[in-house]
Assembly symmetry: C2
């Protein structure tokens, strides 16, 4: 109390000690007076400091006896909060709040919002593991009691001087207990964590299955989709009707609608996947380390994938079946306009997953608010695959430490060399720009060798593009030479019937331009000079580089990868169009006969590469 006195006096505040006993609270008159006293003190700007009146307390073993109306400072604080009808109770601890496990375990995460229904199990785990949480059990008990009586509680650390101020400002620190917490967060942050952990658990059981068993799940899903076609189509029709009524764009509604025959074509593509070569457990490399001691590098599932997709409900089916084929757990977040379609498809798929694996293998995330929580779970989610607009991909890349497979932009170039066949150049340029202008692999910038200005080829290319409805902008050189409007920037993805053209001195200048302004997605050269072609193919540092072919070929299906997971402009893990191998990692497996290292004297290394 002396310490409180001296500390508060430094702030020109006065503190008053109020010593109470369990017995006091049995007297209704005391409880009424207590309120008056505290309110009067507060109106005089005096801070009341409560404590148990140990000197007159009848408690026998104060640290063990938890009977009575209150039995420690935590339960006293909850009791006072109720009596005084407090707006908020803040409990200060020596840790930052309530953790999902022992705070010393790096896997433990701070729980920001306590939800009794979700966390009750997690907390007893902390106790059972015998590592103990010190006084946290008492704090949580008091907090749950107070919150359920309608007074919110925040448990936070008392070490940071401004934590109380932060709590009052509403900042997200410590652990909040609130009667209505359950309703705010449908699945909740721990809900999302548990969802991801459950998906990993289930995926381990899926991996342990034989290839045939995994195939069978896919065949069951295919059948179940066909059996439930009417239900699926009627839910989809409801989505489409609602989107139409809400006045969504036509293109969105067209992506949303499942066309006639789509369900059976989806079912058939799942059957193809069911019969594909087993992707898990393939031996990629085999080495004899020493006589009879064999090491294998094998393909293995990544773990848990988070896929965020927009509009198209069939994406859910394709991704879920790819995940099952590759032994991964999956969390799916679809667009809200496809809510009903996604929900029925998810239900049909998960109901075909056998109990021995568990239907939590594939979790469906339903609210947008859960995405930021999911993106924090870099310890339980291994890869995020966003399928949607550049903006979506950029936002996700900027807001997570989880690796992201995808591309934020596709600024693809076609370079027409002086030796190019003119007709071929026209064909490729037109296809690259007009086959599907909104695609990421469509041409955005056309680079042309300077010699082709005088031959008229540049002009012909511009005219051909304009005839096809393409608006052509020029770089500084092309705009003045060819009298076309100047492009604002070379680093621009039109995603529409528009492109930039620029004149370059030679193939080296073209490569420099691509390195400086491109997005390392897909670039193509048109030339009949094979030396120039090879130079371009070897030096352009992009995910895909083509000679005499349209950039539009940069695509999983066209590359023969089967199902496409996405196109990656990252250099890590997977690059360019990515098939099922993007969902796999490797494991090293060695089979020995008691080999030990013993300072490398224990073994005679042979390090022979064996045939796979």
């Amino acid at each position: 109390m002396a310490l409180y006195d001296s500390l508060f006096s430094q702030l020109d505040m006065t503190a008053a000690q109020l010593l109470v006993t369990d017995n006091d609270f049995r007297d209704p008159e005391f409880r009424k007076q207590l309120c008056h006293t505290v309110n009067d003190l507060l109106s005089l700007k005096v801070i009341p400091i409560f404590n148990e009146n140990d000197a007159v307390s009848t408690r026998k073993a104060p640290y063990e006896d938890s009977s009575g109306i209150f039995w420690d400072n935590d339960s006293l604080s909850a009791l006072l909060a109720l009596e005084l009808k407090a707006d908020l109770l803040v409990l200060l601890s020596d840790v930052d709040g309530l953790y999902s496990g022992p705070p010393s375990d790096p896997k433990s995460k701070l729980i920001h919002t306590y939800i009794k229904e979700n966390h009750d199990g997690a907390i007893t785990f902390g106790d059972k593991s015998r590592v103990g949480r010190g006084g946290m059990t008492a704090k949580v008990k008091a907090a749950v009691y107070s919150a359920s009586a309608g007074i919110p509680v925040v448990i936070t650390s008392g070490f940071a001087a401004d934590n109380i101020i932060k709590v009052l400002r509403g900042e997200c620190i410590g652990t909040l207990f609130h009667r209505d917490a359950r309703q705010w967060v449908p699945t909740g942050e721990t809900g999302t964590r548990e969802m991801a952990m459950a998906a990993r658990e289930c995926s381990r059981r899926l991996q342990a299955m034989s290839s045939e068993e995994r195939s069978k799940i896919l065949l069951d899903i295919a059948k179940s989709l066909e059996d439930n076609e009417n239900k699926i189509l009627s839910e989809n029709a409801a989505d489409v009707a609602e989107a139409t009524e809400a006045g969504y764009e036509k293109s969105l509604i067209s992506r949303l609608a499942l066309k006639p025959g789509k369900v059976s074509s989806l079912a058939n593509s799942i059957r193809v996947l069911a019969n594909m070569e087993e992707p898990i457990g393939r031996v990629l490399k085999r080495t004899e380390l020493a006589d009879g001691f064999i090491l294998e590098k094998t393909s293995s599932p990544l773990g848990v994938l988070l896929i965020i997709f927009e509009s198209r409900p069939e994406a859910l089916v394709q991704i879920a079946s790819l995940a099952i084929r590759s032994g991964n757990g999956l969390l799916l977040k679809g667009g809200k306009e496809a809510k009903r379609s996604n929900s029925i498809l998810h239900k049909v798929i998960t109901s075909s997953i056998p109990e021995s694996v568990g239907e939590k293998l594939i979790g469906l995330v339903t609210t947008r608010e859960e995405i930021p929580e999911l993106l924090k779970l870099d310890d339980v989610i291994d890869l995020v695959i966003p399928r949607g607009s550049n903006k979506l991909v950029s936002q996700i890349k900027a807001s997570t430490k989880i690796p992201v497979l995808g591309h934020a932009d596709g600024i693809c170039h076609v370079y027409v060399d002086k030796s190019a066949d003119k007709d071929m150049a026209k064909r490729i340029v037109l296809d690259a720009k007009t086959d599907y202008p909104a695609a990421c692999n469509a041409m955005e910038t056309l680079l042309v060798h300077k010699d082709l200005v005088q031959t008229g080829t540049v002009n012909e290319l511009i005219v051909e593009l304009q005839i096809k409805g393409v608006t052509v902008y020029g770089g500084p050189r092309a705009s003045s030479l060819m009298n076309i409007p100047e492009a604002r920037s070379f680093h621009h993805e039109y995603s529409s019937l528009a492109c930039t053209i620029e004149i370059v001195d030679d193939v080296h200048a073209a490569i420099d331009h691509i390195h400086r302004h491109g997005s390392a997605h897909t670039d193509s050269i048109v030339t009949n000079d094979s030396d120039v072609a090879e130079l371009f193919l070897h030096q352009v540092d992009s995910a895909a580089v083509f000679h005499n072919a349209s950039t539009r070929f940069s695509d999983g299906f066209r590359f023969g990868l089967g199902a496409e997971v996405g196109i990656s402009t990252s250099r890590i893990h997977a690059r360019g169009p990515v098939g099922v191998e993007g969902l796999l990692t490797t494991r090293w497996i060695a089979r020995g006969h008691g080999e030990v290292v013993n300072g490398d004297k224990g073994i005679v290394y042979t390090h022979k590469d064996l045939i796979v």
Copy 2:
């Protein structure tokens, strides 16, 4: 002014307009009076608002004429800051500050601290590219003028209402101009960015070389190391002497010192690397997309690597030669105790890099302060490889978006099954724990089948470990059964002669334990039951899983990978011990004859896998 008036009056503040002309400032008496006036106004809490007195100004073309003492609001503000001896000048713009390039270009980065020596070039670039920076040129000119006269300047956005408050609080927003900035940041943030960009430029030239040319660089480096052996050893001796004097730990000094013969053994290992199979441009997959239209997946350098290592100067040589062999650019940051050794080794190596590539291929980062700046450069650095303590790796992983190759912890398990050969189990357990207890692949937890309690095997294993000096702790079950002290947590890396032992029911319980408490690094089973072994090998989801072999084999050299880049517990890109392939990515190369997509009607796909 009316707007200022009405806005300030809402805050109960008064504003006063002061209209000045260029001519006023020519009068020393005016300048003296100006100071008094402003100080008096401020003491009355009146905000002075300056503007040019256009009505009496003699300027003819106010938007073009930049002669005189001031010529626009930016130069007026700098002039006033000087006259009034301001503590700080804040210039508000419509962008967040000064960018390295046009703010609309996603590659442009906000410059937090302007350093004339580093940024002067970068800024003219923005002008030359014709995209323009609006009024930023004038602001930078005014800011440089004011800062060089001793008044710091911050350029920040005027759109965020609290930016001025943030600047006054000293938060890192906008761009700071300060006379002493050069001294704070030896190479500066743009210095590190330029270093990384130069490394990428050089690496592209290195990639364009033939395999023989790259080999020759390595052979030249080997020779140069031998030629400069005396210089290297004397610099290293100076480091060792200083570290000894500073009272560093013996183990650190031993890692720091280059042993006799080390330089020539390093040179020889570089020669081995020079003669290894070319890692770049290898065809990993070849597909016929259509008749005569061939797609290849080829190995390709990652780009720019950042390696952060502690103590051992030879690491610099090994890493630099690996980077050259694999065509990558490199930024190196060594421990400060090896400063002289690293500096001479870096000099010897880069002086052997031909001018056609450029010695900036390998940058040496010399101050710790540059690391946070480097870790922000996720657009120019492709991979970070930390080589040092778990703490270093954890810190780096937590503070960057760049992919990190490494492992923060190695909690490796050995599980001894009931069917294990007792002698083999002892041999493997002892090797796994005692061969090198501080290694990441050393055993931290020994799991034993419950049946081996009664047979006495558990007791024998404990005794054998204790004889070798290992302190043995128990999990809840083992500690009570075997009467040994209880371990604080299963998720603990002792990195010393200590380990935890726990009794488990069977192989399934062992796998569960490893999944729950391990770090997915390396785990081993000892058993004579091949079914149990295969179950373990297939289900344990760790980077390396062994049967009847010591966990200590999990190592690049022992795996026969040649040089070891690191051991990765990430599932993305590379997993387990990583050799040169961890420094590579892939590119897709297609050679066609004018193929176009044309809605996939333009081509007949064959999708034939061809032999590589």
